[in-house]
């Protein structure tokens, strides 16, 4: 799984980080918290500047886990071609 180490680090420290930086975007590379940012764009820029083009985890510190819904894709509707 991509970003396995970063996800494990995020989950291990989540309770601590969300207390300190609620709503911010954490940037994790390997097992290190590189920083917290107001927006994912800022986190990405910081990650590229420091590490270059490497896998990195940018995730918001929020109590609920955000879920993305793409119904046309996941339900196969893009493939549907009705005859009438």
């Amino acid at each position: 799984m991509p970003l396995e180490r970063e996800l494990a680090t995020f989950q291990a420290h989540f309770n601590e980080w969300i207390q300190l930086h609620p709503g911010k975007f954490a940037l994790v590379v390997g097992e290190e918290l590189i920083g917290v940012f107001d927006a994912p764009k800022e986190a990405y820029e910081a990650g590229i500047e420091r590490f270059g083009n490497v896998p990195m985890l940018i995730r918001q510190l929020r109590p609920d886990d955000e879920t993305t819904f793409l119904p046309a894709l996941t339900l196969g509707l893009i493939y549907a071609h009705p005859t009438h």
């Binding site: 764009k41 500047e49 955000e66 879920t67 993305t68």
Partner: protein, 170 residues
């Protein structure tokens, strides 16, 4: 505010690989697959700048079509295109599917829209999805992106089915 009209009646492109203009898709495409517009997917600006600073080549943008998907909470990019451009994942996201939640990689990328006045959009967090095999009928161009409600929140969009015209402004 730049305004782009996409007329789905005129200038139907029927040759595979033919690059459509802003008024290219057919009415059948509007009915069958929905509102699409031509898009160039590029490496994000910070990555392009980093590559240039290291005297490394910046990958050539990938051309295709983006579907305006009002059902999608977030915009998405073909994972194959992101990997072709050499963009490393910058997160993971839970995607709701019929079979439950599934984790997908997240990518940063820049979308530009040739042939129209819309400004490029820099995406910090695009969901990587499998769009392999999705070719828009009558255009012969692959679907490589979905424009979701995260970006539509900045747009005014008019979907006029009677005249087969999509108007976008932001």
């Amino acid at each position: 505010m730049p305004i782009q009209h996409i007329n789905f009646h005129a200038n139907v492109a029927t040759q595979p690989g033919q690059v459509p203009g802003p008024a290219s898709p057919s009415p059948a495409a509007l009915v069958q697959i929905g509102p699409v517009l031509q898009v160039l997917v590029e490496v994000p600006t910070p990555l392009a700048a980093s590559l240039r600073a290291q005297n490394l080549p910046v990958p050539t943008p990938v051309s295709g079509l983006a579907l305006i998907d009002t059902g999608a909470t977030k915009s998405a990019v073909s994972e194959t295109v992101a990997q072709t451009l050499g963009i490393q994942p910058s997160g993971v996201v839970n995607v709701g599917t019929a079979a439950g939640l599934q984790q997908q990689s997240v990518y940063s990328a820049r979308f530009s829209f040739p042939g129209g006045p819309l400004s490029p959009i820099e995406f910090a967090q695009l969901t990587g999805v499998n769009l392999e095999g999705h070719v828009v009928p009558g255009l012969g161009m692959p679907l490589i992106a979905l424009i979701g409600r995260d970006i539509l929140s900045r747009f005014v969009m008019i979907y006029d089915g009677q005249t087969a015209t999509i108007t976008l402004a932001f």
